[in-house]
């Protein structure tokens, strides 16, 4: 089962690389023309096409791109001629750091609030929490981001408004720098994660063994903690993984807001400059993370459910 699922993910990954390549190379619009602009001379265009290998057939270009990818060679950026893999790695590290801080804040909080909502189901704490989450699902990321910036960086300057980090920065200083973007990301994923945790635990709460536990007189928190939670672990892990995937993507807008030197900002910058090799590489990395986290979610679901592990 698991091997099958991994193989399927690899197949999807391969297909995604084709989609990204086709999306950028075969769509109408000439890459060379886009880079040089409408006023470019025909000679300059021909030169650039030659240099980028645009005259070769698409299939051989795809194969050489894929071959390079597998060896960690992502090519060079068109705009500044720098090695893409090198710039990607440090920015990828920054993005992972930000995402990790946000995850450490949001996951325990979401699970705790989800359990509180279950304990006080249909009473005021549940209603307050679900109204708050419905609201925060509707808020655009930049509203949350700039609101936090206005209050915690400008009115009460506790944190920097621009999250600049550099090599050799201490851990605490780095933590202080990413506080606001991490907090914004937490708010972005918290609501989803909490709602799904609540639904997962409520689902378990309807089982007969919960009724037994209630009837033998256990306190309601103990019923949730000892009997419902262990059985809801699988769906909750699934929820967390799906939200981590969402978090990695939500990072794009948040990084632009706080001018954080991460992968998302790198991608957006180079989309605006039409730097196709960079866009392909960064887009593919986002897709790999997304697919990888979904794979982990599926595998944990498989592992934790004996009925799925041993299909009839």
């Amino acid at each position: 089962m698991i091997a099958q699922r991994v193989a399927l993910s690899l197949l999807i990954l391969f297909a995604v690389s084709v989609v990204i390549f086709v999306g950028t190379e075969i769509l109408p619009g000439d890459v060379a023309q886009n880079i040089l602009g409408q006023t470019a001379t025909p000679e300059a265009l021909a030169n650039l096409r030659e240099k980028m290998g645009l005259n070769e057939p698409a299939l051989s270009r795809y194969l050489s791109w894929l071959g390079g990818l597998l060896q960690g060679d992502l090519g060079v950026a068109l705009t500044n001629g720098r090695d893409i893999a090198e710039s990607l790695i440090s920015r990828f590290g920054n993005t992972l750091f930000l995402a990790a801080v946000a995850a450490i804040m949001s996951v325990p909080l979401a699970i705790f609030l989800g359990l509180v909502a279950v304990r006080y189901r249909d009473r005021w704490p549940d209603k307050v929490i679900s109204a708050a989450t419905l609201t925060s699902i509707s808020l655009p990321e930049f509203f949350i981001g700039y609101l936090l910036m206005l209050f915690f960086a400008v009115k009460f300057p506790a944190f920097p408004s621009v999250a600049s980090v550099y090599d050799g920065m201490g851990f605490l200083a780095r933590l202080h720098a990413v506080a606001l973007p991490a907090f914004a990301l937490t708010l972005v994923v918290l609501a989803h994660m909490m709602r799904m945790t609540r639904a997962a635990v409520l689902n378990v709460m309807e089982s007969p063994f919960i009724e037994t536990a209630e009837l033998k007189g256990l306190s309601s928190f103990k019923v949730i903690y000892r009997h419902a939670l262990p059985n809801a672990i699988a769906p909750i892990v699934n929820v967390v993984m799906l939200n981590m995937a969402y978090l990695i993507v939500g990072v794009v807008v948040i990084e632009v807001i706080f001018v954080y030197p991460g992968l998302g900002q790198y991608l957006v910058d180079h989309v605006a400059k039409r730097d196709v090799p960079v866009v392909q590489a960064a887009g593919l990395i986002f897709a790999v993370i997304f697919i990888g986290l979904n794979l982990i979610a599926d595998i944990t679901a498989l592992l934790s459910n004996p009925r799925l592990r041993h299909p009839k």
Binding site: V16, T24, E25, G29, L139, F142, M149, L150, R274, G283
Partner: protein
């Protein structure tokens, strides 16, 4: 059946209607024109400029009203494309089954394996920026979600006796799709329509905010956030106003969709959705 609308849904309907009304009437009720420079840069709220002025000294309230037109109109067009395409292909996949279903479903799986925003960025990096490409890209990417929903709803309906009766009567496939299945799949689809529309508004705003959606000088809510974002560090909240407008619209439509969903599920005895 007596139609009783809960307070939250009434609120949602009222706000949504107001916003749409303002957008339609913008040229007549806006105090200034969209691009006229009428004051200093980032003037605070006053009686002449109810919401203050923006980064170039244009009236923020007028721009917000005209921006509502662009944002709502483009989001609506993209939703229409996404919905028509997604519903038609989804029902076709449910009715025909076989290889048509397989090809469409695997294709949708593939597109959904890449985060929507990332794929949109990748595609928009090569296409020349224009409204048509923007609407098409948004609509096509989003139709995958409508396809999934319609296909699963359609699957539940295809096995019903009345569909079989229609097949035995010798009705054509298209007749079955449009006359037997679509009317019965309509209520969950309408709730979904609201959610898709809001997703489009948020998606368009995010793209404009990143500088890849609507191009200036045209006003749209996401673009207005981008124009005014530099004021935040000086404590000027101009960027928050269009962002708040997006949030209010999103909450209102969500409240309506929530109510429609609850209503449909209680009609069906709580079994569905």
């Amino acid at each position: 059946m007596k139609l009783s609308i809960p307070l939250s849904a009434l609120f949602g309907i009222a706000v949504t209607v107001t916003i749409v009304g303002v957008a339609v009437l913008a040229p007549w009720i806006a105090p200034y024109s969209m691009s006229e420079i009428v004051g200093e840069v980032w003037e605070p709220m006053s009686t002449t400029h109810l919401l203050g002025t923006d980064t170039l000294g244009r009236d923020l309230l007028s721009r917000l009203m005209f921006g509502a037109r662009t944002t709502l109109w483009i989001a609506a067009l993209a939703t229409m494309i996404s919905f028509c395409l997604g519903t038609f292909l989804g029902l076709a996949a449910a009715v025909f089954g076989g290889w048509i279903d397989q090809v469409l479903s695997r294709l949708v799986d593939l597109v959904m394996a890449i985060p929507t925003l990332i794929l949109a960025l990748v595609i928009l990096s090569v296409l020349a920026p224009s409204l048509t490409t923007l609407i098409l890209v948004m609509g096509l990417l989003d139709s995958t979600r409508v396809f999934r929903l319609t296909r699963s709803v359609g699957h539940d309906i295809v096995v019903m006796d009345y569909v079989e009766a229609a097949v035995l009567r010798g009705e054509g496939r298209l007749w079955i799709i449009f006359r037997e299945i679509l009317p019965n799949a309509l209520s969950p689809l309408i709730a979904e329509l609201g959610l898709r529309f809001i997703f489009m508004v948020l998606f368009l705003s995010a793209l404009s905010f990143l500088g890849l959606g609507i191009q200036p000088p045209e006003a749209d809510w996401g673009g207005m956030v981008k124009e005014n974002k530099d004021g935040i560090v000086f404590g000027i909240p101009a960027a928050l106003i269009p962002a708040a407008a997006i949030a209010v619209l999103a909450i209102s439509v969500n409240l309506i969709a929530d109510w429609v969903l609850k209503r449909t599920s209680s009609l069906k005895g709580g079994q569905n959705v």
